[in-house]
Chain length 201, copies 2
Amino acid sequence: MSGLNVSPEIERLISLLAKLPGLGPRSARRAALDLLKKPDALMRPLSLALGEAAERISTCRICGNVDSRNPCHICTAPGRDKSIICVVQDVADLWAMERASAFKGQYHILGGTLSALDGIRPEDLNIAALIERASDPDLKEVILAMNATVDGQTTAHYITDHLSGTGVSVSRLAHGVPVGGELDYLDDGTISTAMKSRRPF
Amino acid sequence: MSGLNVSPEIERLISLLAKLPGLGPRSARRAALDLLKKPDALMRPLSLALGEAAERISTCRICGNVDSRNPCHICTAPGRDKSIICVVQDVADLWAMERASAFKGQYHILGGTLSALDGIRPEDLNIAALIERASDPDLKEVILAMNATVDGQTTAHYITDHLSGTGVSVSRLAHGVPVGGELDYLDDGTISTAMKSRRPF
Ligand SMILES: [Zn+2]
Ligand SMILES: [Zn+2]
């Protein structure tokens, strides 16, 4: 915006909305206008929801999930299998797995993948905590559910190497996940099938 | 989301974000996660910006613009021409005109167009206030800058009819080839209008 004839409150709102993934400058302006037209139905509720989330949500110290409890709902759920951990890149992938209802064990969120190009090293990811969790004698299996990308598979190999000798069996999601595909884009059936057909790594 | 293993604060944030134009359920989840990863850099500032906008921004009682002043910055700017009003459908169109720096008069925002299909009648739009503004003896011209759609042009005709007899001259934006536009991509109507309205070079 030019800044000349738009109030600074609106300018600031637009520039913050434009930082959200999926919203460019034009859609940020439209979103801001829509919010301004619905102060009570949308703008104030969203302000409150953001404020509450900022206050209450933290990163689970066990698995890396985001939740209002710490440890999170999944780590503390009595009905979930403690002998199996599904390792995912991101919380969005955990959500995708949960939507597919394909898995009733524990999770571990890496926070990304190793990447020579982007300079992401093992110590930049939540990997050390995973190796430590693997020393729990109750743990039997680790499922590597990274994206089927080069970086995802490099990360899977790295983790497999570091879990060898722990006595934990390591598996990966079945092929059926398209090469280059990202979990968060897949339909529930594909995720579910890939989970059932998982293979030793 | 299933609701089973996502905290209610996050569920609520996602469902509110999904109401923004341009964000579907998937992009709302990604936006929520991005916000959760940046509580201090993005989530709290956006919460505050929304709260401040909700408190301070109102609809200008003269022109229908949204602003922290009422009447708005544009209606009260001493340097702007009071003898000419540009009528637009939406605040987004006012912003587009201001970005183009093509106009230094006053605005009037209709809040939409007449539409038989959507049941939008004259009394649903900010038209009566425009007719009243036209009785100001200082007003010389009204520019109708509605979209070049059927509903936009129906609305322009309706307003023209109701301004006849006020002594105010009524104009509309020129139709033609957009700057940078390629003929091959334009519809026949635009090309033939541009041809009929051709100007000496
Ligand atoms: Zn957890
Ligand atoms: Zn105004």
